[in-house]
Amino acid sequence: MAERRRKVDAVIIGYGWTGAIMAKTLTDAGLSVVALERGPARDTSPDFEFPRIADELKHGIRGELWQPLAKETVTIRHGVGDVAAPYRRYGSFVLGNGVGGAGVHWNGQLWRASPEDLRLRSHVTQRYGKKFIPGDMTIQDYPVSFEELEPHFDHFEKVCGASGVAGNLKGSPREGGNPFEGARSSEFPTPAMAAIESARRFEVAARELGYKPFPVPAANCSVAYTNPYGVRMGPCNLCGYCERFGCFLYSKASPQTTILPVLKARPNLEVRVNSYVTRVLMDDARRRATGVVYIDADGREVEQPADMVMLCAFQMHNVRLLLLSGIGKPYDPATGEGLVGKNYAYQMCAQTTAHFSEDVEINPFIGAGAAGQRVVDEFNSDHFDHAEHGFIGGSLIFASATGGRPIAQMLLPPGTPRWGHAWKAATQRHYRHSAPYTTQGSVMSYRDSYLSLDPTYRDAHGLPLLRITFDWHDNEYRMAAFCAQKMDGIVAAMKPETRSTLVMRPGNHYDTRIYQSTHSTGGAIMGSNPSNSVVNRYSQCWDVPNLFIYGASSFPQNIGYNPTGLLAGLAYFSADELHRTYFKSPQPLVQA
């Protein structure tokens, strides 16, 4: 029998980015809030302090800050008829854990979506015709526009102390920024940092080819800065320990460095760590969430009643909790019916590695997750005419060095033996003179790509693991090949001694062993009505109006950009509406 705690106004599941945004929103309104975080408490001090944080083995390889797969992982299969196998060791993606979630060990690439990304099906149909969309592609429009989200993108960038250069300020083009972005209401809160050497060379080469390179929008603060909540941040020093690490300088935006400091003193918020939520509780009519059940640090089952349930876990975990709680109808790829688990998507990346002569000093260890990098956006979203290319979507192309940590970021020419004298000599010859360039591309949603509960494998508590059914489709092979070719052209213009490109080609299946992206999306998608989506434009569950679901689980398909800017914008858009109407009168915010 579960121990029953005193009822609160709202319970938050997961204390990462969206959990922190919602904790602030709800406590601002005077509500009593309990936030449940499955992992441990974490803060800049002592957890990310220098020099102990500068430990590639502990953080970059063993994943001290990641979800321990020994207790819970996912299973993966390529096709609907296959048996899935557990994701036993980290590879393709890295899951967060603990206070701050993946927002602690992300890179800080802080993008907005392109306006057309948010009305993708309509836009593609309008420009290329209905037949341009393959029959098995299940893309749909967001029920919210870029213009509606813009104030919230803007706010989140200010919360993060983001560094960058506006390319479109209130409709006026601005030199040095992204010429393809939607109109910004204001400039970035902090200036872009100087380009690191690999990015400086990229910038020069891209300009020569007529492209318009610009600084990657970075949640790596570049100067001393105070955010709208009064939280102070410091300048990034390009330490090279960014993604996979916590920031010791209060430069990389994370919940800890931007929002949590103002929440600590609030009497109406209680954060309970090491609290593993196992299901959302529902009333008998299954129209209302009544709270959650979780397992505490001592293994006890605890019931936390609440009037509102905010599902703020990572995308995959949001979907798993819906399935474990029996909320909504699970998606069935055979019939196309059901919505929970539908439209799982990912990203498809390619990498070109450039190996320069020995007089070119790249200093690869100088870098950050986003600051100091440069990017071109010509071949992303619908920034170019797709008609003759026969695919939808595109990629960022960027100088992607985040550091030169030698275990995982050693770049050697293809064909170099992996051991022996030749390997050793190659590490000495190439380490300081090589640089990575990356395309990060969108992945559309498809009828056969989805999430469900695994019939066999279970977590440490005996609950079914989430099962991912996913593989690449022709649209993405074409997209990646096209963008990789453009990237190769830029890298060739830098005149390295050698260069090599790794790109997925038809016949290559999704490879779970190689890190590609943690930008997984979908499974609890957003849409215009209950027949095409799990949540409405305010992230409110259609079936259960006092349940709100935040994060990339609501993306109907994926974009070529990093997801955090978009998912935070959606969360703040929802927060605005909660303040405006829901807190006064809790009810469905969109009529079905």
């Binding site: 390529h78 060791r89 590879g91 320990y241 200093n363 260890f365 992996r418 004298h421 300081r432 999704y510």
Partner: protein, 233 residues
């Protein structure tokens, strides 16, 4: 230099001349590898047995050989690193989902699917590899000639040694991964002794502050490495 029974004559003679000096250190028949490992003779392996320790030292010595610029893997302390990792949660499978069923014959793209922790993989894998060496060459891996060792490792890497449990390609992958880790990880873990591997490639270790180099693009960074414990070189 292989004869039909797989034993190189030149090497055989060389081998016979060496062991005596090293016996006292390791209490077992030693190889040239052991002599090099004696650069830290005080380290007593905790997880690996004497035979396994000889195997690990011999393999690491081939994966990152001595000679040329920069330390060899044995000189850098990689065997000590691996042994110490086996006592960490990692060695016991603490970072791996280890629940069955364990499926075989899946596409390699679905990743590691063996029922073995790193400790299991080494314990069973070393026995299995040495057995395959004895079958082919009449002696365990660490007593083979260098050329034979390289050839054997090359076959292991490609999965060309035939049926073994665990598959020797997986054992090789584990050895290579942990060797690279030990060579380049912070010295506090027992490898990368004196930051020799970092010095050899020009990595400044835990400096983690490049504010003074932001406006000097393309100029070689002038400072040597520091370790987490504050050692400099």
């Amino acid at each position: 230099m292989k004869t039909k029974d797989g034993i190189g004559r030149r090497h055989f003679l060389f081998r016979a001349a060496v062991p005596v000096a090293a016996v006292n250190v390791f209490g077992a028949v030693a190889s040239p590898t052991d002599v090099m490992a004696a650069s830290n003779p005080s380290y007593k392996p905790s997880f690996f047995s004497t035979e396994e320790w000889s195997f690990i030292n011999a393999v690491v010595d081939r994966l990152v050989p001595a000679g040329g610029k920069g330390p060899g893997g044995v000189e850098a302390g990689v065997p000590e690193f691996i042994d110490r990792q086996m006592e960490m949660p990692y060695g016991h499978g603490g970072t791996t989902y280890m629940q069955g069923p364990f499926q075989r014959d899946l596409p390699a793209t679905l990743g590691y699917q063996l029922p073995y922790t790193p400790r299991d993989l080494y314990r069973k894998g070393i026995a299995s590899a040495d057995k395959a060496c004895r079958a082919a060459h009449g002696m365990p891996f660490h007593l083979l000639a260098i050329e034979q060792q390289d050839a054997f490792l090359g076959l292991m890497e490609k999965g060309g040694i035939g049926e073994a449990e665990p598959p020797l390609a997986a054992v090789f992958a584990q050895l290579l991964e942990n060797t690279h880790e030990g060579y380049f990880a912070d010295p506090m873990y027992g490898g990368n002794r004196d930051m020799g591997a970092w010095k050899s490639i020009g990595f400044p270790g835990a400096r983690a502050d490049f504010t003074d180099w932001l406006d000097q693009p393309g100029k070689p960074y002038p400072f040597g490495p520091v370790s987490i414990n504050g050692r400099r070189s």
